[in-house]
């Protein structure tokens, strides 16, 4: 039931002897500095602020193991000694102490203990006891103890002891841990909640100074070795203190941590920027584990993981993927080069002829200005059309970071058809397009999805071309599948995919064509996978291949 005493106590140390006799959390205070205040209070002289002033003058001279466990677990016994009680006693308990102390110091007989039942958030039915010893050597020593019922099969003290073991564990973990005392904040929140505050986000928006104040009153009480290293500090003590250096580079994070605290979340995580003490700017993943009432743990734990390197590697990987995808896109456009040249040449050709015709109308003895006006308007239209084609191609070739947006798959298909329509028509392939009505939007990168559609269509065209002399047909449909995903099907009547190859068509460098590199379908698969979708290929019983993909609806 009891935490073992920290050390053997010599009988020659009466103070140590006294506090070790008790099961509860027990402190010994030197009251010499406070005696005049105590006596004045005893005779009714209680000026404003007397109680806090009294508490401030009590110095801890000894604390037993349970006292250390109860309030000092962050700092240990040494940190507690010589301190004022104000340093560790919860604010909510301040008001009960002075009266109790005055009674114990001035009461008779001196050894009679004064007891007080107090409400506490961390202990069940705790009793606060204050007494003076009869030992003349201890005339300036006040003893204070908290006795509490065990809260479950393990006593509170044992729980605290196990927490100490847990702290030891944390100190050696390879993650940066900060122990944070947010009790002062919890009290403020409690007060706000009692006043009926519901939307703390809105409250903080109108009271931004509260965030700064919280960063001051919420304190880091201990950090582990990894945290010292992460922050580029030399010693734990550089980090112990107000929590605000943690949020120096991302003040918004402090706000979100507070909101989650107020709303009673058990934990909260986000990726944020961290400015270290030696001035580096890191990307860290921060996880906050809040103390959850009515459980006993009263410590907020913050875990930090430096993910700067990981994010950089991921960014490089994304860039590589995007470059690779773009390379495949350019290679794909290369296969369409003659079609694209034709597409651009058509409006240019019309423009030339319209212009020549206009000049001929103008060079007549009576220039036909009406005709010229009409032709000039058509020139303008065709120039615009040519510009659109160039714009579409540029969209496919420029190096840009993939941008996700809400898209209509049917529009993506429409745009993709512009690239392949001529290829399909000149090969006398029948294309039938049936676009599903009122499809939900999808979420993705327009250019990459266009690339997939063009690639699958081109694949179908080439399959038909390789198959037979007769002109073929391609059927493109979009639809909503039974699971609510948006799907696209492209079916051709070419020779189909050899059964043994069906599993391999999406592998890189798999190709049955002489000119292809075999990256087209592999890229399609990686694009669809990156969009959270699925892609597949199968053969039709009647001949021909079917390629499909589906993408989750974005609502």
């Amino acid at each position: 039931m009891l935490a073992p005493a920290c050390e053997e106590v010599s009988a020659a140390d009466p103070c140590g002897h006294e506090i070790q006799r008790h099961d509860g959390a027990c402190w010994a205070f030197d009251i010499s500095e406070a005696r005049d205040l105590i006596e004045a209070a005893s005779s009714g002289d209680r000026p404003q602020g007397w109680s806090k002033a009294l508490l401030a003058r009590l110095r801890v001279v000894e604390a037993n193991a349970n006292a250390v466990h109860l309030f000092g677990s962050y700092a240990g016994r040494e940190r507690m000694l010589g301190q004022s009680i104000l340093e560790f006693w919860p604010i909510e308990g301040w008001h009960v102490l002075p009266g109790l102390i005055v009674g114990a110091v001035t009461g008779q007989p001196r050894s009679r203990a004064r007891k007080l039942r107090v409400k506490s958030l961390v202990l069940k039915d705790p009793v606060l006891t204050a007494w003076m010893s009869d030992d003349p050597a201890l005339a300036q020593t006040l003893f204070l103890a908290i006795f509490a019922e065990p809260v479950d099969e393990r006593s509170f003290w044992a729980l605290r002891a196990s927490q100490e073991r847990y702290n030891n564990l944390i100190h050696h973990l390879p993650f940066a841990f900060l122990e944070v005392d947010s009790r002062a904040q919890a009290d403020i929140f409690e007060d706000l909640r009692r006043k009926g505050l519901k939307d703390v986000g809105a409250y903080l928006d109108t009271n931004p100074a509260d965030i700064q104040r919280s960063c001051q009153i919420v304190r880091i009480t201990d950090v582990n070795k990894s945290a010292v290293e992460l922050f580029g500090a030399r010693h734990v003590s550089e980090l112990v203190g107000p929590v605000d250096p943690l949020f120096a580079a991302s003040p918004e994070s402090a706000r979100r941590v507070m909101i989650n605290h107020f709303e009673g979340s058990r934990s909260y995580s986000e990726v944020m920027k961290l400015r270290t003490l030696d001035g580096r700017l890191l990307d860290v993943s921060m996880s906050v584990i809040y103390p959850t009432r009515p459980e006993q743990l009263d410590i907020t734990l913050i875990m930090l993981e430096d993910i700067t390197e990981r994010l950089r590697t991921e960014a490089q990987l994304r860039q590589l993927q995007s470059d690779y995808t773009r390379a495949a896109r350019i290679s794909m456009l290369g296969e369409l080069a003659s079609s694209i040249a034709h597409e651009v040449n058509q409006p240019l050709s019309a423009i030339r002829t319209y212009a020549e015709t206009s000049l001929r109308w103008l060079s007549r003895e009576e220039p036909n200005l009406q005709k010229v006006t009409q032709l000039t308007a058509r020139i303008s239209d065709n120039a615009l059309h040519a510009g659109e084609i160039v714009h579409r191609i540029r969209g496919m070739t420029t190096r840009q970071v993939p941008r996700s947006a809400s898209l209509d798959l049917n529009e993506v298909v429409d745009e993709a058809l512009h690239f392949v329509r001529h290829e399909i028509e000149t090969r006398s392939i029948d294309l039938s397009v049936r676009l599903g009505r009122e499809l939900p939007p999808i979420w993705g990168d327009r250019v990459q999805l266009q690339q997939v559609v063009v690639n699958l269509l081109l694949n179908a065209v080439q399959a038909i071309h390789s198959g037979s002399e007769s002109s073929g047909s391609i059927e493109l449909t979009t639809d909503l599948d039974e699971r609510g995903a948006v799907t696209l099907n492209i079916r051709d009547d070419g020779p189909g995919v050899a059964e043994g190859d069906l599993d391999r068509v999406f592998q890189s460098f798999f190709t049955t064509k002489d000119e292809g590199m075999g990256i087209g379908l592999a890229i399609c698969q990686s694009i669809i996978a990156a969009h959270g979708g699925a892609i597949g290929a199968s053969n039709w019983p009647g001949g021909g291949a079917r390629f499909w993909f589906s993408l989750p609806a974005h609502r």
Partner: protein
């Protein structure tokens, strides 16, 4: 007007076809445009055309196929090809089949009109 020659323009691209028709109009020539070879062939049965101006690459039936088709029907209508970036093989095939002219787009207007007038037996200018 009935002895004014009638020209057929077959091109699936609306702008190109319309531009050609406007050019022929300013030159005082009568012409009808068709978006496909099939549409032209239907009219060919009932109308007398003095010349066919056609694109090479078109859906379903291309210009070369149309030329072959006309020849096999016993027609000797002069055919002028107007096409974008075609290869030597296409030019050779068209010429071998007796093409009256072969022009790349964008059209060199003066040369094209000169060729057309020659085909129609009209005075230059």
């Amino acid at each position: 007007m009935s002895n004014t020659p009638l020209i057929a323009v077959v091109d699936d691209d609306e702008a190109v076809r319309d531009a050609l028709l406007s050019l022929l109009q300013v030159e005082g020539l009568r012409a009808i445009g068709y978006p496909s070879a099939g549409g032209f062939l239907i009219d060919f049965a009932t109308k007398t055309f003095s010349c066919l101006i056609t694109d090479v690459r078109m859906p379903r039936m291309g210009g070369l196929d149309l030329q072959c088709c006309l020849i096999s029907m016993g027609s000797s209508i002069p055919v002028i090809f107007v096409t974008s970036a075609e290869d030597e093989a296409t030019l050779a095939q068209a010429t071998a089949a007796g093409a009256a002219g072969f022009f790349n787009k964008p059209l060199a207007t003066a040369e094209f009109l000169q060729c057309l007038r020659g085909v129609l037996g009209l005075e230059d200018g």
